[in-house]
């Protein structure tokens, strides 16, 4: 019994020191990607990803994918599509990666392996210059982008929802924005948080060598680095 434990410990240590080769893919994704082609599914979710009618996709995560591709000396092929289609494709390893501002709570765990979150972005209520944000939002008019879950989060705090097509920073009332927009729109008084999103990428399940490679890259990203990419993406659009 103690011998069994001993053998196991030895096996683990050997595996750990022999190191870099483990874990391995159940398939061959990492080998295929390295020096080959990286097939990436993209769903539109600006400023994380933006899929124009003409030309390649843009956005913060697109830049990250390109950086990863450079590291691995591989060529990226973009496959835009709806999330449900891309996840079905990644499940059977037709795609190597799906990006599009995916949340860690995404329901795709049967189809794909979600990476550990590489950045957490808060959704805040902030004030344009000269506008104060009261602690209690009950009855206060707050501007929020129409058709988003933030509308419901705001309504739950009894705020008077003013749905607008886009937040510009020129509103005369508190606004709901992602935390990366505070500087860009010159917003202040942003202590009121109404939501928070852990961002992940989706990979083929069981390709653990590939997943380790991607996560090593993602975990090396800094919060401010991602924020800068988001700001740049907002400006470009």
């Amino acid at each position: 019994m103690t011998r069994v434990t001993g053998v196991l410990v030895a096996a683990v240590l050997m595996a750990g020191t022999a190191g870099c080769g483990l874990p391995k893919d159940a398939g061959t994704t990492l080998d295929d990607v390295r020096g080959g082609v990286l097939r990436v599914g993209v769903t539109e979710n600006p400023p994380w990803t933006d899929v124009p009618d003409e030309g390649p996709p843009t956005g913060a995560e697109i830049v990250l994918v390109q950086r990863l591709a450079e590291q691995l000396d591989t060529t990226v092929e973009w496959y835009p599509g709806p999330e449900s289609e891309l996840m079905a494709a990644v499940k059977d390893r037709v795609l190597d990666l799906v990006v599009g501002g995916l949340d860690a709570d995404a329901p795709w765990t049967d189809e794909a392996s979600l990476t550990s979150p590489f950045v957490t972005m808060k959704t805040l209520v902030a004030g344009p210059p000269g506008v104060a944000v009261p602690d209690d939002l009950a009855g206060v008019q707050v501007a929020v982008r129409a058709g988003t879950a933030d509308v419901a989060a705001l309504a739950a705090e009894d705020a008077t929802v003013v749905a607008v097509p886009e937040i510009t920073g020129r509103e005369t009332m508190p606004v709901v924005v992602g935390e990366w927009r505070l500087d860009e729109l010159d917003l202040g008084d942003a202590d009121h948080e109404i939501g928070s999103h852990d961002h992940v990428w989706a990979l083929p399940p069981g390709e653990n060598g590939w997943q380790a490679e991607v996560e090593r890259f993602l975990l090396a990203q800094s919060h401010t680095g991602v924020e800068d990419l988001l700001v740049a993406a907002e400006r470009a659009s």
Binding site: T5, G16, L22, S116, G206, N208, E215, R216
Partner: protein
């Protein structure tokens, strides 16, 4: 004649029982810690999940033992004239059925995953500024939970034999199953690391099979207990020698011409009926009956509640 004995166990056994109670509390603490640690590192490994489920199940026998420990010594009363010894048997059955059900679930789940060719993903984790594969951490946690399970199981098995406590024995068996499970899960995760997608589900399947086997054995034993089976050794290896020895000792009394004895287990102790045929020169019967009752109870602490009747002849 005093009808009821207040205490079930003689002093040295009561001390042993108190030690068992302390051990069971430690077992519960251990399992709670293990469940928490495994939950924190739980990835999408099937074998790991199976080991986790087994840890949760591992709480059932010690809990049953501790609940029974509160009830078994209660004085018989007008509502429960036979006392509360059976609470131990009921606890035993409850734990066994839980074991069986969850073992079945683990087997079913692993088979489905094998059939669907599901590939378990395990990612990276960042801990104390270090980035490493979650699989290594899972293996470390599993190995850490193996050690106390091995130690607790060994001590409890010894005490269970002395106490004639089947719940405690089942619990010790469960600890054994528990560290074997952890070992299988480690192999499953090593398999994932090597890129063998099926290794994990196969490990989970083996674990599940082992849980089911345990469940079947303990459920059968628990049902037999409640069916008033003749006393068996605590590990089920064979019939308990005590009824035969007692019967022979009673026949040895020179004023006993013939005797018939049946015993059943009620938790730790044996209860039953004794018929005897006195010899013609046996003397006044009430005194003889009382003397025989005392003799039987003094013969072994396990003889707890024995109804003794004199008869003219015994036909079997």
């Amino acid at each position: 004649m005093k009808v009821y004995q207040r205490f079930e166990l003689p002093p040295d056994m009561a001390r042993l029982h108190a030690r068992a109670v302390r051990l069971e509390w430690w077992t519960i603490v251990f399992f709670l810690v293990a469940i928490g640690m495994l939950a924190a590192t739980l990835g999408q490994s099937q074998a790991m999940k199976a080991a986790w489920i087994e840890d949760m199940l591992g709480l059932v026998p010690p809990a049953a033992f501790l609940v029974a420990a509160r009830f078994r010594n209660r004085q018989p009363n007008s509502r429960f004239p036979y006392g509360y010894h059976r609470s131990v048997s009921i606890a035993f059955l409850t734990g066994s059925v839980a074991l069986l059900g969850l073992g079945g679930y683990v087997v079913y789940d692993s088979l489905v995953r094998l059939a669907l060719r599901e590939r378990p993903p395990i990612g990276m984790i960042e801990l104390f500024g270090q980035r490493f594969w979650l699989g290594w951490l899972m293996i470390a946690v599993l190995l850490a939970t193996m050690v106390p399970a091995i130690l607790l199981g060994r001590v409890k098995q010894r005490i269970a034999r002395d106490l004639h406590d089947k719940v405690l024995f089942a619990d010790a068996e469960m600890n054994r199953a528990d560290w074997l499970t952890a070992g299988a899960a480690v192999l499953g995760i090593l398999g994932i690391a090597a890129g063998l997608w099926w290794a994990d589900a196969v490990a989970a399947l083996i674990i599940g099979g082992d849980i089911v086997r345990d469940g079947v054995r303990t459920t059968r034993s628990a049902v037999s207990d409640l069916m008033d089976e003749t006393p068996y050794l605590v590990d089920g290896a064979g019939p308990h020698p005590l009824p035969g020895r007692l019967h022979a000792a009673i026949l040895d009394q020179d004023w006993v011409a013939d005797a018939w004895l049946r015993l059943r287990e009620e938790g730790h102790v044996f209860v039953g009926e004794l018929l005897f045929v006195p010899t013609p020169d046996a003397g006044p019967l009430p005194e003889r009956v009382e003397a025989l009752t005392r003799f039987a109870k003094d013969f072994d602490w396990r003889i707890h509640d024995l109804a003794v009747s004199p008869v003219t002849r015994i036909d079997t």
